[in-house]
Chain length 307, copies 2
């Protein structure tokens, strides 16, 4: 999850800098109503707009329908599938399904988090990613929507490469040129509300493909409902097309990988996972959920990564 | 040269689609005055604005002063150091100095081209790049300014990595995090005239570092002289600081490279050079200068690349 977790957002929410060292985060915000801790599951996406929720639900169901026979059920404990801080200010859901040993899918990982902001608004992050194993070198899949206000959305969509495209130009051609992913990226260049988004971590920037969509959508000053319109008319169809390409060309395509290729993939995949935890979610999760919840969630993610 | 040659510009100037198949390119434009074919050298930068010329002259002299004892003189034939089409519409200069065998510098390559456009304007490209050899794995240096009108400039500045940063995170830290190159890139985010620039070739995009500056500056509608102001106040100091970092940390730093590392660098460097010629300058040069001049210039570049 949160392959490119937005440190610019979470740093301002740091628990470490709070006078209250334990999970009573955002103690200054009003206590939540009992409704807020009604058990929720990953596919509820309970705190986001309808177009945002519909997109995520459609992506999860498309992915699961296509890969169903390859995936084991989600067996995470209930306090990982849904977790929240005692104050009720922060909620999250984690969802992992591993692939059967015969599948090219290593695991599929979905997540949402919702954190009330001291300013009165809320941070909502929804993500879905899929990792393939070393029986194929095809790219992974990642989508993430990070909404920090009704008028501000960071949208990340990519098929992150699993080989150095500089050293393997034919890889670039197969998965990025022939698939016309660039035309999806260009869709957003025409929208005046769109600016490029740069992760503050340089390592995270290096993980993306040359056709990755890494943008910040700002609808401040535009009419009400413009963000929902952009999600429905632009984010939704582009994300679905990218997932269709990934399912056909990557998850369900065949690639022959020799022993040396397998070792290369295992080394590179492993490094990415370790570095991602180290520099990204490993520091942002404790800030948002406190050390106890964070260590519970991170342990599960580490297990999936090292599966 | 022209590591990221702008195909969006040169494709509109294609000789291939012209009815005149030989070097009489831009036959529709007015013949040049005799002054236009006065022999010129690389450091003249004769067709660009004063701040643009001053920057390039300063960069070349800074690089040559620092590396002087390591570089052989430029021994290119005079019709490569300065070349032009019979109509006088297109001029160019190429400048290459190889490093001595004891140096970490493979070669330094400078170039400018000036092509009259059918629309009455001109395309001016100035570039300076430096390639290190396999005795070090430190990044190369590249700067390129592509001016297609008085109000439109593409500015490319990078220390292109020579190893996959995903697989070598300590490489990223040494050359990109510790050097604070990111702060140089961020300088341009604040200017309203600046937009990101994407090479149309995905392979070229993959060659850049996470702190590369790849921007298009558009001053249309701004006051006269705004482009020169941006070059003088922003492009100039940033380019000089990047060159200073490169000279200190890369060209004159020490890195130990074992035999396996050397083989990796030679393979990756070689691939980049071959692909760059194949997809980039190999197709743009014939379009701009016709097949005869292009083959003369490209042969020299190929020799430098494979030397």
């Amino acid at each position: 999850m949160a392959l490119v977790f937005p440190r610019f957002l979470t740093s301002s929410l740091s628990l470490a800098s709070s006078s209250s060292p334990r999970p009573q985060i955002f103690a200054s915000s009003a206590p939540s109503s009992p409704m807020d801790i009604t058990p929720r599951k990953y596919t509820d996406f309970p705190f986001v707009s309808a177009p945002h929720r519909n997109l995520m639900v459609d992506l999860v169901s498309t992915m699961e329908n296509r890969l169903e026979s390859q995936l084991k059920p989600c067996t995470l404990p209930s306090d990982v599938q849904y977790y929240y801080t005692p104050s009720g200010a922060s909620h999250g859901s984690l969802y992992i399904r591993s692939g059967h040993s015969s599948s090219q899918v290593d695991f599929v990982l979905g997540s949402w988090i919702h954190c009330k902001l001291p300013t009165g608004g809320a941070l909502n992050i929804t993500s879905l990613s899929a990792y393939l194993n070393a029986s194929t070198d095809a790219p992974n899949f990642l989508i993430e929507l990070i909404q920090s206000s009704p008028t501000s959305l960071v949208f990340l969509l990519d098929l992150p490469p699993r080989k150095d495209p500089v050293l393997y130009p034919e890889y670039l051609q197969t998965f990025y040129e022939n698939t016309q992913l660039e035309s999806l990226r260009q869709t957003f260049e025409k929208l005046p509300e769109v600016q490029p988004y740069y992760s503050s971590a340089l390592y995270i920037r290096c993980l993306t493909s040359p056709t990755s969509i890494m943008i910040r959508i700002n609808t401040e000053g535009a009419g009400e409902g413009r963000m929902e319109e952009i999600i429905k008319d632009h984010v939704d169809p582009v994300a679905k097309e990218a997932l269709r390409i990934w399912l056909e060309q990557c998850a369900c395509g065949h690639r022959s990988v020799d022993e040396a290729g397998k070792a290369y993939l295992e080394k590179r995949d492993g490094l990415i996972k370790n570095k991602t935890i180290e520099i990204d979610i490993g520091s942002s999760f404790p800030r948002l959920f406190g050390p106890d919840i964070a260590s519970r969630i991170l342990e599960v993610i580490r297990e999936a990564y090292n599966g």
